[in-house]
């Protein structure tokens, strides 16, 4: 009876243990108050810096760093570095869905949709150009609208215009039928928005939308900075085209 457990409590099968261990690894990553707080903070789709995440979890940056490393290792969050900041976001929509599932069991209060714009830099936050495409709340809202009607899919750091989305954009004259077919430039790419912390559309498609908006006088360049002003005509057109309501 010396080998005790080794003899008596041998697992029945090895296969299931593997998948169970993988599951345990993922669940354990979520199953710690600080990390859970971080993930919850990211549930609205924004990308936050390590310091901000440390703050919401009420821990020091050192500790947050190790937690984030673990979350990245198991593939729950993805990181994007920009200068001396590191922006963390949920790795993909499946992660958000999983967390929502856990919250439901936890007696969970649902996630608030996303806080609307803050009070500072109103003009820049509302709409601006980012290189050759639209950014700010307008840019993010357009990306949301395209996703909502199934015209585009954003997944992690890639994006795709669906067939119906392409047809729709062509119908509206925003996109030429053969646009981007033979270009080396990414056609449709998500770009992290600085003020909104959520992706807007870059690439050939993003540029086409921006060009169209300027040509049709939906937006007008402003002052010396990159801020854009939405015209009355633009307000009507954006509502009709994308279902976006732009606050005065």
């Amino acid at each position: 009876m010396l080998p005790g457990r080794a003899l008596r409590w041998r697992p029945t099968e090895g296969r299931q243990m593997v998948t169970a261990n993988g599951m345990a690894e993922v669940a354990a990553a979520v199953g710690e108050p600080a990390r859970a707080a971080m993930l919850t903070a990211l549930m609205d789709g924004r990308a936050l810096t390590a310091s901000e995440l440390a703050r919401v979890a009420a821990i020091t940056p050192q500790t947050a760093s190790s937690h984030l490393a673990r979350l990245i290792a198991v593939g729950l969050i993805a990181v994007e570095r920009q200068g001396r900041h590191r922006y963390h976001r949920l790795a993909n929509p499946a992660v958000a869905q999983m967390i929502e599932g856990i919250m439901q069991i936890a007696g969970g209060i649902q996630v608030r949709p996303r806080a609307r714009t803050g009070p500072r830099d109103l003009a820049m936050r509302a709409a601006r150009t980012c290189y050759d495409h639209l950014a700010g709340q307008l840019g993010v809202d357009i990306a949301d609208a395209l996703q909502a009607r199934g015209a585009m899919v954003i997944d992690g750091d890639g994006a795709l215009l669906t067939a119906s989305g392409r047809a729709w954009m062509c119908d509206m004259g925003i996109l030429k039928p053969d646009a981007g077919k033979h270009s080396a430039r990414p056609f449709c790419r998500p770009c992290l928005d600085w003020s909104e912390r959520r992706p807007h559309i870059a690439g050939v498609l993003g540029a086409a939308i921006c060009t169209h908006a300027l040509e049709q006088s939906w937006v007008r360049r402003r002052e010396a900075n990159r801020a854009l002003e939405i015209t009355p005509k633009g307000r009507i057109a954006l509502k009709a085209t994308f279902g976006i309501s732009c606050a005065g």
Copy 2:
């Protein structure tokens, strides 16, 4: 700078921390290899004893006992005692859904549907009576069929016949229109099946189905024990009514 963290790293809000802690508690319950193995083993909907769960997790019964206590405490599994056995099952469908979500992230292999009946006690396992209702594979299959077509919902230790389900059962002459309206007896109750380890239907509804099956000669009582024999006529009727194929 003495109070260090207390000053600098105060959490921004208390509300979110609460829901995050609840989530962490649930996720931590899953996030341990032994418990994850147990939950995985329960994913096919069967109910297993504490010893069986200890075996699949490759731990001693003492350890399993503490794990099970924790899983019960957070509401992931429910327990039903019968004699000196304690049958554990996932507390409700939402738990299974949550686990499936976690598995998906874990690079998860999906769960096998459910192993079909074992080789022993074939007659008893295939179909028998349990008091006044049907049990064995036939009983479980009928319960499955009712759920599949939205006639009944089983959730944890309660069950409900839907309005359409009641109408359907009445149309087929299984149920009288006013059946159970004024009875103190539970109308539709899940009953844990010994051989299948999954619920079949008890209560007024279960008795009605059993009575109907006997009256219509779908099944016939056998020998001295409670085993039932499915008649050729019954085979046809069960296929037509519930879509159940009974192996010879």
